[in-house]
Structure formats: C-alpha cells, structure tokens
C-alpha cells in the first residue's frame, strides 16, 4: 500500500512526485513507458512562456504566470539547462500591430511583467535573420527556453533520491475506489500490467490518457483529444544564429509555428496542430512538414533544408473546455487531477505541482519531513562552447585525471564521453534504453543522429545493465535495435 500513487511520469507527474516527497509519504509514480518523459513532455517546444497568450481568468493564465519565475528557479536548483532568451511575437503588416497591442493588454491583465512593443528596427537589430518585412513585435522579457526532458528527468531523480519509487513499463489497466464506511481505510486499487497496487490517494497526471483513467473513477466525465504537433530540428550552427524565440501572431488553433533556438543550441521549427484519433500516433506527415517550412519561412526567409537533422512530433492533451483541470476531484475523495495539460503546461508545471502537493498535504494533515535531500549532483557536461573557458578546461582535465573514461569521447557530434554515458545509466531512475541515454546525455541527438556512436552506446548499456546486447531497445516495448548475433564459427 502506497500513500499516494501518481499515474504518469511526465513533467507534471514528476514535479508532483518531487513536491510530495517533501512530506513523510510512501510514493510511487507509474508509467506505461520504459522511461520517464516518454510522452508529451519529451516532444514539445521547450518554451518558458511569459503568459500573455492565455485568456485572463483561466487556469492556463494563472498557472503560467505563477509558474514562469518558478521554472527558472527550479532549473537553477536542479542544474537543468535553461535560458531567459526572451520571446518575440512578430507582426508582418500594419494591420497586425493592433493585435500586438491587444496581446500586451491581455498579458498585463494576466499580470505579466516586461511586455512591450518594439519597432521593426529593434526586431532586426535583435534578430538579423528575421524577415525584413516585419513591422514590429511584442517583446516578452520573461520568455525563455528550457530542456523539457532535462527538467522532467531532474525532477524524477530528485524525487527518487527522496524515496519515490518509479515503476516503469507499468501500464494501468484498471482503477477503482473502495470507500470505507468508517472513513479510515478508504483506498484505491490500481490494476497494472505488474499486478495490483493499493493507494490511499491517486494523482492522475496521465497526459493524453488522463480522461480514460478519470472516467473509471468519476461521474464527471472528461474528454481529452490528442493534438499532434510536428517539428523540424536544425543543426547547432544554425541555432547559434538566433537568440529569441520567434512567434507569429497566435490563431484560434494555437500559438502558431515558432522558430526558436533550444538550450542545446539547435533550432526548432514548429509545431503544427492536428487533432488525431489515435493517442499513440506520433508519426510525422509530409503535408505538415511542408506546412512548417512554408510558414516558418515567413519568420525566417533564409530557411534552407540542408541543415535539418531530424523531425519529430508530440501529442498535446486537449480538454474540450480548453483549460487545465487541476485539483481535487469533486466526487471522488483523495483523487486529484492534473488534466488537459497542453501549452503552457511546461511553464505551469511548478505551480501546478505545488498547488496539488499543498492540497494533498492539507487533506492528509501532513507536515514537511525534517530531512529533505538535495538533488543528486548533475551529470558532468562539457560541451564545446564551454571549453573556451580555461577554468572549465581545467575542471575537465581534473575529471579525466580522476576517471580516464571522462576523456573518452563516444558521441563526437555532442562531445559526450563514456563516463557521462555510464553515469546516466547509474543515476537514480537511470537510462535503460538508447533514447534514455539520448535525453540524459545528448549522445544520438546531434547532427549524425547516432550514426557513429550507437554501436558503442549499445555496448556500454549492455555492460552496465549486464544484459544481452540484442535485448536492448530504443524506447522499451518491442523496439529492439538488433535482431540477433552472428554465430562464431570455430
């Protein structure tokens, strides 16, 4: 019996787990995937939104604006790459300028600071590659970028250090509430692919699947549709030429196609927005990839295909009401909900997690644990841009003197060393798959997309996990990378 079971190991589930691990509770996070951060949280724009876009008075507006400074603070505490690079919303005609002003006004109603309209000249001064036909822009000074998987994994690790159990590859197949007339021993029974699990409280943070779980418990039925967003990713050489996140004016379908550098210095273009029936369908499509190109070219006319390194797609959980549903369930005691978490969910995650943890603490009369352990020290990261700094070089040299594997480069594109890959496997909630290594170290994420390093990464994974190399997967399930081994003939 766990005190609280959290279903879903995305950024919301992991953030709630971390916040709840401050209290004396037995906690488990369940996810059907083989790793944390395998759903919406791994494939989004990675934007720290300022909060000018959401409709005033909504949960989206409230949690976004509260969450914005908290994400920066959390990123610093957890050593997650993040940058306050500012956001620009670009106008391309005189008629667009009043829409910029309307966005500023909406942002101010939401309580967003640091919003202003800047001139064409200032836009081009800040971002020389932007289409010179730009007429002006909204500048959001609190806009930023963060590694969405970096944040999710760091939260999971910190939660695990403080006693949270992560049950991965664990699909929830049933969920029921068993009230106790005495009111003392009420519990939930979670049927999973790994057997039944009991819990005193359940948090539903199951992303696009939150509705079907919720509807097993509550009479207040929810419908979540999956909206697919497709992206292109470009080489670091290109990303380095941009500073701010460049939005176009939002439409009724969302915030439109953006052009943004990532904290890893690549550039992403996207997302499209497409309602799809199958909630596992993360494929990319020719039509939408083409749409990205034509739309992003308005922001950046110099866009060329020869620097593309990959394309990807993620699903966003969209509730019919268009807002986040956060908090206690109205009809099921000890059941808590974080549903419909789409953009700006990443920015909102800290505020959502803190609110839910406080609600649960209040409902169960909890006080903070006397001892809350700090996050594990971050994975050493020595990317090339830091090596211009002689101190950084010296620190790396000292690391190599301690562990020669820190000097053995495995991923040449991102300069990832053997020691970093081994550490990523050995950490709390460590990597078990090729994609797990990728999100923790960036090996496989660079311009060759794993063409050179994959064979060596597989060897290291097999060594560390003491398993047959042919059982290793890209991302769990039946995603084996190899189909067999050659027979050695004498």
């Amino acid at each position: 019996m766990f005190d609280v079971v959290i279903i879903g190991a995305g950024v919301i589930g992991c953030a709630i787990a971390r916040e709840l691990s401050r209290y004396p509770l037995s906690l488990a996070v369940l996810d059907q995937a083989s790793d944390v951060c395998e759903g919406t949280s791994k494939a989004n724009s990675g934007i720290i939104h300022a909060g000018y876009d959401a409709k005033p008075g909504t949960n989206k507006a409230r949690y976004n604006v509260r969450g914005n400074p908290m994400v920066y603070q959390w990123a610093q505490e957890l050593a997650v790459p993040c940058k306050n690079n500012t956001s620009l919303v670009l106008a391309f005609s005189e008629a667009d300028l009043p829409k910029i002003d309307a966005l500023i006004e909406r942002g101010q109603q939401n309580g967003v600071k640091g919003l202003s309209r800047i001139s064409r000249e200032e836009v081009l001064d800040r971002e020389p590659l932007v289409n010179p036909s730009v007429t002006g822009a909204l500048l959001a000074e609190t806009g930023g970028i963060i590694s969405p998987y970096g944040l999710t994994i760091a939260l999971a690790e910190h939660a695990a250090v403080n006693g949270v159990e992560f049950r991965l590859d664990c699909q929830v197949q049933g969920l029921s509430h068993h009230p106790d007339p005495e009111g003392k021993n009420a519990c939930f029974l979670v049927q999973t692919s790994h057997g039944p699990i009991q819990a005193r409280a359940v948090v539903n943070a199951a992303g696009v699947f939150a509705d079907s779980l919720h509807n097993l418990l509550s009479e207040d039925k929810l419908t979540i549709t999956a909206r697919r967003g497709e992206y292109y990713m470009l080489d670091k050489r290109i990303g380095a030429q941009f500073t701010a996140t460049l939005f176009q004016l939002p439409t009724d379908k969302g915030k439109g196609i953006l052009v943004t550098p990532t904290v890893e210095q690549t550039l992403i273009l996207g997302p499209t927005s497409d309602t799809i029936p199958d909630k596992t369908d993360t494929r990319t499509t020719a039509a939408k990839l083409e749409e990205i190109l034509t739309t992003a070219a308005l922001t950046w006319p110099g866009l060329r295909k020869d620097s593309f390194i990959t394309s990807f797609a993620g699903l966003r959980a969209h509730l019919a009401e268009g807002d986040f549903r956060i908090g206690r369930s109205p009809d099921v005691p000890s059941y808590y909900l974080a549903a419909g978490i789409e953009s700006p969910g990443l920015t909102a995650a800290p505020a959502i997690a803190i609110d839910l943890a406080e609600q649960i603490a209040a409902d169960f009369d909890l006080v903070l644990k006397p001892e809350f352990l700090p996050p594990p020290p971050p994975l050493p990261d020595f990317s090339l841009h830091q090596l211009a700094d002689p101190d950084e070089l010296d620190r790396l040299a000292a690391e190599i003197a301690r562990d020669p594997a820190m000097g053995r480069i495995v991923c040449r594109c991102e300069h990832v060393t053997e020691a970093q890959i081994r550490a990523a496997i050995r950490r709390p909630v460590g990597a078990r798959t090729l994609d797990g290594i990728k999100r923790r170290t960036r090996a496989n994420m660079g311009r060759c997309q794993g063409g050179f390093c994959t064979p060596r990464v597989l060897e290291i994974l097999a060594e560390e996990l003491a398993c047959d190399i042919t059982t290793l997967t890209k991302s769990g399930g039946q995603s084996q990378i190899l189909t067999g081994q050659l027979e050695v003939k004498a």
Binding site: T284, L384, P404, P455, T483
Partner: protein
C-alpha cells in the same frame, strides 16, 4: 598555472584523422624529410572506416592488388608503425583555431598543440534520416548503412532480417549483399534518382548477382511501426522534379530500413578554424596544393570531397603532405594578404564570398559550369612553376558520349576530353597538362559537359 593542463606542445605537422587519408599523408610527409609529425586518431586503432569494409575491391590502382578494407589499412598502418611516426589514439580534437592550435581530449587528459601546419583528414559522415525529412514513425530499425556495416562486421550483430535500402550509395549496395549473405532478405534498393549513385561494379556484384531489385526513380514516403519498423511505403517519383506519385505508392513489409543517401564531409572542426567551405562539395575550398582558405591548413580525403575509391584518397593525401611540407619549408614569411571575392557557382547556393587570402590575381577560380555538380580544386594558384593539374569533378547527371570542356572567361576552349559515359556515381578526372597553364589574363576557368 593549472594543475592538470599541460603546457602548449608543439609539432611541425599535425594530421587530424588516422584513416586512409591521414596515414598516407603522414607517410608521405616523412618521405619528404619531415620528422616532427603527429597524427591524431579518435578510435582505438588506425585505419578509419576501412576496418569495417571487409569486402574486397580496394587497392587495385594503388597497390595493383585486390585487397579488403582491413588489408588495405594494414599495409598503411604497418608502414606507419615501422616509420615510427608519433600518433595519439583515442584522442578527439575538440577545436582547431585559425592560428593552428589544437585542443585535444583523451583518457590521458587535455592537451593543446601548436602546429606548424595541419592536414585535415577527418573523413565524412552519413546523412541521417532526419536530413531527408522522411515522414512517418520514429521507431527502431531505421539506421544508416554504415552503422549497419559496423554492427555486423565489427561487432557481429544483426541489425535486421527483412530489409529495404533507401539510396544506392556504395555502402548501401555493399550492405545489400552482406546482409543477404548473413541470411537477411533484402527486398529492394530504392533510389530517388533515375540512376544509381554507386559504382556500376557494385550494382552488378551486390544487387544483380543476388537478384535484389533496384527501383530507380522511387523513394520511401512513409515509415510504419510504433516500436520496431513494420514496413515502408514507397512511391515512384517524377524523374525531373522528384515529386512522389502517391497514387502509385505501395507498402513493403520489412523490419529494417537502411539509409545510403549520401555522405557529408565532417567539417565542423574546419569551420571552427575559419576554413571556407564549398557548398557543392561541403568540403573546404582548396587550390591545387590542397591548401584551404586558412594558410597552413590543408585538406584531403573524404573531408575534402567524397571519393569513390580509397586509392584516390591515398594519392590525394600524399599531395596534401607534399604541400604541407613545402609550406613548412617556406618558413612562413607572411606576405600581405588580401581578401578576394570568389564567386563559386553551385546548384545549391548563391555565390559565396570568401575571405580566401591571395596575392590578388594569383588565384584562378575553377567554376562548375553546366553539367558539373562540383569540382576540386576550386582554385588554381598560377604563380607557380607549371605542372599538370588534376581536376576531380562530379557530373550532375548521366551523360553518354559527351565532352568535358574547360573554357576560359572569354569562352575559349582550354581543353576538351571525350568520354563514353559520365555518371554522378563515379567521380571523373581531367588532367590539365602544364602546357595549358593559365596566363595572367584569364579571369576564371569553367568546366562543363557538352553533348
């Protein structure tokens, strides 16, 4: 002073890369009398990509013998070991500056090395799936042909059982045969262009001999499968526009898609050193001495332009080594350098303006004209003693009974050479005899194919 970083070391010549190009360059530099040579290799052994090329066909031109890749590499690495040239293995170059200081990392630590001259010999990488933008799922079972070759030949690991290969580059063709021999079913090789991009001998020996269909003017339009690949959808493309005709698309069940869709010279270090690249080759702009836009930095092998035959790589590397030694001998007296605006015509990009230093008109640009995709060298240094200049070029498409024409900026013919067949899959060469050495009046040369 730091406790861990060693002082700046020095070497006359640093060669980056211990594959066929780097090894040949090192040996030739020593034959030219240079002793202070340092070769840097990131792998645990020398030989580069040859080590995984266990098929034969190497060395026919250079050694007059048909060797496997490891045998070809072994001839060079044995000579290299006997020559006693210093080399750093498991050492990765992190950065090269324009003033020729290298920062390298290895399990032994971090070093900074000041080089009198540098030869870039880093080779190339394969274009990944993402660079093509093939729509569909991103499941396991989609990998480059070279990675499959490494898994199979060096680690004894099978990447798949039922295979479609996209692209008819040489590695893809070689892997079609290799996987077949190991019991996999190669269902088709799908090629976007109306011709194979590999060598004819590979099409015959690797596909036709094993009855593997080569589908020209076709491409993969979607990948299927959530976890492991379950199949691909292919479609014929319009031979000129390459637009797929989705109405004629069909599904092929397979668990593996191998990609052999082009090689990209690995020039990230070169760019960091300020070396100007040719958008057509994606390698450095060089003159006939193989010197890049940065004085004292030379390039050879697949980092300069993608070669079909390793024999040509070895020869080219020797040229780079002779030039580097000559550069070192000139004892670097810096002449006043002026930037000239070079207009290199390519299909891909507008003219590039380069900071190529030059004694003004001493540099003659060689332009890729009609029918030519790329040409190396892109520049001729003409204030030298006349000698034969070899131009290596790729035709833009297949030509039969065509002439290679080299003309000056007045349109006058400098040289003409008849060819029975020219194809993008086989890099062609034109030797310009010393008697045709450009005079000071000529503004540029243009190479073209005329039918």
């Amino acid at each position: 002073m730091s406790g861990h970083l060693v002082d700046l070391e020095k070497a006359s010549l640093v060669i980056v890369g211990g594959g066929p190009a780097g090894l040949a360059a090192a040996l030739e530099a020593q034959r030219q009398g240079l002793s202070d040579i340092l070769l840097i290799e990131r792998d645990q052994q020398l030989g580069g990509i040859l080590n995984q090329c266990i098929h034969t066909g190497f060395g026919l031109h250079y050694f007059g013998a048909e060797l496997s890749g490891p045998e070809y590499a072994d001839r060079f690495s044995t000579a290299f070991a006997a020559a006693g040239i210093t080399c750093l293995l498991e050492t990765h170059v992190l950065e090269i500056t324009s003033d020729r200081v290298l920062t390298v990392i290895s399990p032994q630590g971090i070093r900074k090395i000041a080089a009198g001259a540098i030869i870039l010999a880093m080779g190339c990488r394969e274009r990944p799936r993402g660079a093509l933008g093939i729509p569909g799922t991103r499941c396991a079972g989609i990998l480059t042909a070279g990675m499959a070759q490494k898994l199979l030949n060096l680690q004894g690991l099978m990447p798949g059982q039922s295979v479609v290969i996209l692209g008819s580059g040489d590695i893809g063709l070689i892997m079609a045969r290799r996987l077949t021999l190991e019991g996999a079913k190669v269902k088709a090789v799908v090629e976007l262009m109306p011709y194979s991009s590999g060598l004819t001998r590979n099409v015959v020996q690797c596909l036709q001999d094993y009855e593997i269909p080569l589908l020209l003017s076709h491409t993969v339009v979607e990948t299927h499968g959530l976890e492991r690949l379950t199949g691909v959808t292919i479609a014929p493309v319009h031979p000129q526009t390459q637009k797929p005709d989705l109405e004629q698309s069909r599904f092929i069940a397979c668990d593996t898609l191998l990609l052999s869709v082009g090689l990209i010279p690995e020039n990230e270090l070169s760019l960091g050193a300020g070396v100007v690249l040719d958008p057509a080759t994606r390698g450095p702009l060089v003159d006939q001495s193989l010197e890049t836009s940065q004085p004292g930095i030379f390039a050879c092998g697949n980092v300069l332009h993608v070669h079909d035959l390793v024999d040509d790589v070895s020869r080219e590397a020797e040229q780079a080594a002779r030039s580097a030694v000559a550069f070192l001998e000139k004892a670097a007296k810096p002449a006043p350098q002026e930037a000239v605006d070079l207009h290199i015509k390519t299909d891909h990009e507008p003219a590039v303006s380069s900071g190529m230093p030059a004694g003004q008109s001493s540099l003659l640009p060689v332009l890729a004209g009609p029918g030519i995709r790329s040409v190396v060298p892109q520049l001729i240094l003409r204030n030298l003693d006349p000698e034969t200049i070899r131009l290596a070029f790729r035709p833009a498409r297949v030509y039969r009974a065509a002439s290679i024409c080299l003309r000056n900026d007045q349109g006058q013919l400098v040289m003409k050479s008849q060819r029975r067949i020219l194809t993008p899959g086989e890099e062609a060469r034109l030797d310009i005899p010393a008697s045709q050495w450009p005079d000071g009046e000529t503004g540029h040369w243009q190479l073209s194919i005329e039918v």
